[in-house]
């Protein structure tokens, strides 16, 4: 046998020795798929005994990639052994593969389960090889040397290949073997009342026996009351961060809320123990931890009065604003930037009928991009108001956003959610470097907004297509709308309904523009603003047919692009139609057959049962013949090659 496992390793671990870092062999690998979580159970052997061990999920990749498989000889680096329901369960938190593939060493027997914690190591010597191995180690304090001796003395020819592997490999530190403590003369084991040792948050898992964590509260949620089939209840959660950077959410229900709600304060450090671990609810919990702690009646939460400088106040993983452009819709991320503009709060009617506040502000960072940040609810009055005052007095503060949600409603923007936290001018290095960047030139640096409906940047990110390509390539069918430019000619404009009556009232910095209803003969009513007025606005809602050398299609043009195409305001045309229908028709006809560069937004939408591709004209530019010619010259040069 070319390698020796740490003798008695299994018994040592069961005995509570978690520092030995032994060499063991994986006898079996089993996938336990109890829940959505993938968990692997290994059968580890020290050549004489074997024991099941659970693999921490962060190591799942080792099994998946084949680094750890049946027969692998591994060194356990970080591991624990706890008692769960009278059984000793080993959990491996960190391990290293020494030999990925090796013949079975020894003839290990499953470790018998008893109630007592410690066992005497019964070496099961069945095979000749194991015998020899044991003999060499009987006086052994230095298994490393023994292994080497072993290699030189025993050279079974069929193991030649393995020998090759062995010569080149340097075993990781194999600590001297120490026999397990012999408790045979003691009585039954008493319950250990000593305080549980503090472990890193990253090591928490449901199979952990007794644990304690020391961490700082980074966020405290609101107390929420709910009502479900089981009756009334209340719940609140808070987030913890420890000195290793591990984060986890803690949730309390009902009576437990009363115990801890007032004790928990953001920024203070607590020692927490005896909670239960359950899978985290990814919908609400955006922390990087698959588990969540639920505190119970027996849980303990002790505030640590001394300041622990090893635990940071907050943990961020900022992304540059340019990354947001390609981020997935609804994903959660942290971002930091300088606030360059703040808009006033506007009341918004939500889908559930409730009214809330909304504020839009713009963040700029060194990546050359600006993004819109939408504040909802209380953020508008708290941080939003403060930022507004700072901007008004000419100062541009740095704002850090933790757990903002990406939205792709108009370009890409970030919105606050209930678990978002905003930090104005935080005392962190990223804020300082942003401040100096901004003050020394960043303020005037060119920056593209990724949040506007009309994507600026013109020719840089313009995709030119022909009309037929819209259908051929199935544009608009993916989750996101497609933005393209088409050079085409207006061939028909629908005139029966070309505009609608719109609300002229202002909501914040934007016009309401909702369709208004007629009251009697002279007044109009807008149900969003809940106001009546005499004069309404007229806005374009044009159905236009455009054509190029490949085909024709219908598009919808709204106010701005409508004015570009027709050259008149919607109101003027509306009046004209009322007065002189014939002249109106002629005017419209005279606008046909003009060529434009249409910037189109294409998106497939469901109307009842149908899927229809909706094309909107975002901008209609009169073709600039000079640049068009350049474009075509470029195309020509590509064709001939």
């Amino acid at each position: 046998m070319p390698v020796s496992l740490t003798p008695g390793a299994i018994a040592a671990i069961r005995g509570g020795d978690v520092d030995a870092k032994p060499l063991v062999q994986v006898v079996d690998v089993e996938l336990i798929g109890r829940s959505a979580q993938e968990r692997y159970r290994l059968l580890l052997s020290d050549a004489a005994s074997s024991q099941h061990a659970m693999l921490a999920t962060q190591l799942n990749g080792l099994v998946r990639s084949g680094r750890v498989r049946k027969g692998s000889v591994v060194q356990l680096i970080d591991y624990i052994c706890s008692t769960v329901q009278n059984r000793r369960i080993i959990v491996v938190l960190n391990m290293e593969t020494i030999i990925p593939d090796c013949e079975m060493i020894g003839n290990p027997k499953m470790y018998p389960e008893t109630d007592t914690v410690a066992q005497k190591v019964p070496p099961n010597i069945n095979s000749g090889n194991a015998q020899r191995f044991n003999n060499d180690n009987i006086n052994g304090r230095n298994p490393v040397q023994n292994a080497q001796n072993f290699q030189s003395s025993v050279q079974p020819p069929h193991q030649a290949n393995n020998m090759q592997n062995m010569q080149s490999f340097q075993p990781a530190v194999q600590p001297p073997y120490q026999p397990p403590p012999n408790y045979r003369n003691r009585g039954p084991i008493m319950k250990n009342e000593a305080p549980a040792r503090i472990i890193p948050i990253a090591a928490l898992n449901p199979y952990q026996g007794r644990w304690a964590i020391k961490a700082r509260v980074t966020a405290k949620g609101d107390l929420r009351r709910y009502n479900n089939a089981r009756g009334d209840g209340k719940v609140f959660s808070f987030d913890l961060l420890d000195s290793d950077g591990g984060e986890i959410r803690v949730t309390c229900f009902n009576a437990v809320v009363d115990r801890f709600y007032d004790i928990i304060e953001v920024g203070k450090v607590y020692l927490i123990s005896k909670g239960s671990l359950k899978p985290a609810q990814k919908n609400f919990n955006h922390l990087k931890n698959e588990w969540e702690i639920f505190l119970e009646a027996t849980s303990t939460v002790d505030v640590c009065p001394e300041e622990d400088a090893s635990i940071p106040q907050q943990q961020f993983s900022f992304r540059p604003i340019s990354d947001i452009e390609t981020a997935e819709n609804n994903s959660i991320l942290d971002v930091i930037g300088v606030v360059v503009s703040v808009n006033p709060s506007v009341p918004i009617l939500r889908k559930n009928g409730m009214e809330t506040q909304r504020r839009i502000l713009n963040l700029k960072d060194g990546s050359g991009r600006t993004v819109e940040l939408t504040l909802w609810g209380d953020f508008c009055n708290r941080e939003g108001q403060k930022l507004q005052e700072m901007i008004d007095s000419g100062f541009f503060p740095v704002l850090a956003v933790k757990a903002g949600k990406v939205s792709d409603f108009s370009g890409k923007s970030i919105g606050t959610i209930s678990s978002t936290q905003l930090f104005i001018n935080p005392d962190i290095p990223e804020a300082c470097s942003l401040r100096s960047w901004f003050d020394f030139g960043g303020k005037d640096a060119a920056s593209l907004s990724i949040s506007r409906e009309i994507m600026p940047g013109g020719s840089k990110n313009e995709i030119r297509k022909t009309v037929s390509q819209i259908k051929e390539e199935g544009l608009g069918r993916s989750d996101k709308p497609d933005w393209i430019t088409v050079k085409a000619t207006v061939s028909f404009i629908k005139t029966d309904t070309f505009c609608y009556t719109a609300c002229p009232l202002m909501i914040g910095d934007r016009q309401c523009n909702k369709k208004v209803m007629r009251l009697g003969n002279t007044r109009w009513l807008c149900d969003r603003c809940n106001q009546e007025f005499e004069e309404c606005d007229y806005r374009y809602l044009l159905q236009v047919q455009i054509q190029d050398h490949t085909g024709l299609t219908w598009v919808t043009a709204f106010q701005e692009s409508g004015e570009e195409i027709l050259g008149f305001s919607a109101k003027e045309l509306f009046m004209l139609k009322e007065q002189d229908d014939e002249r109106f028709a002629e005017t419209v006809r005279s606008k046909l057959f003009y060529q434009f560069l249409f910037r189109l937004k294409i998106k497939e939408e469901t109307y009842g049962d149908e899927q229809r591709v909706k094309i909107t004209v975002v901008k209609a530019d009169k073709a600039n013949y000079s640049s068009e010619s350049q474009y075509m010259l470029d195309l020509i040069s590509k064709v001939s090659r």
Binding site: Y625, S626, S629, L633, I636, S640
Partner: protein
């Protein structure tokens, strides 16, 4: 109801798109070129071709000439045209694109032009 009249195009004597460089190839043939007017003395116009070389256009220029003019006539030298048709092309003209057109029309896409 519109009556669509078929307008026959006279393709019997096409004018070749030229710049100064290409002019020499078509001496004695009907050519067309756009030039930038440098000097006009009533009997001839000294102009700059779209490839930045001097060109002389003989004939009777119209009374008002804009900065850019298209002339159609017979090439009668390495850098002169005897023009019988003058068309004002205004004060803004993309000479680069026109020059490219001349090159393409006399190069690989010659067959597309009459």
């Amino acid at each position: 109801m519109d009556i669509i009249a078929e307008l026959a195009m006279d393709t019997s004597n096409p004018a070749v798109f030229v710049n100064a460089e290409l002019l020499g190839r078509y001496v004695g043939r009907k050519v067309r070129a756009v030039i930038q007017v440098i000097r006009n003395d009533g009997t001839a116009v000294i102009g700059k071709s779209t490839d930045e070389k001097q060109m002389i256009v003989k004939g009777l220029p119209p009374s008002q000439l804009t900065t850019f003019v298209e002339v159609i006539g017979i090439a009668d030298g390495q850098n002169s045209i005897s023009a019988d048709k003058w068309t004002n092309f205004g004060d803004n003209f993309d000479t680069f694109t026109y020059n490219k057109l001349c090159q393409l029309a006399n190069g690989e896409y010659q067959h597309l032009f009459l």
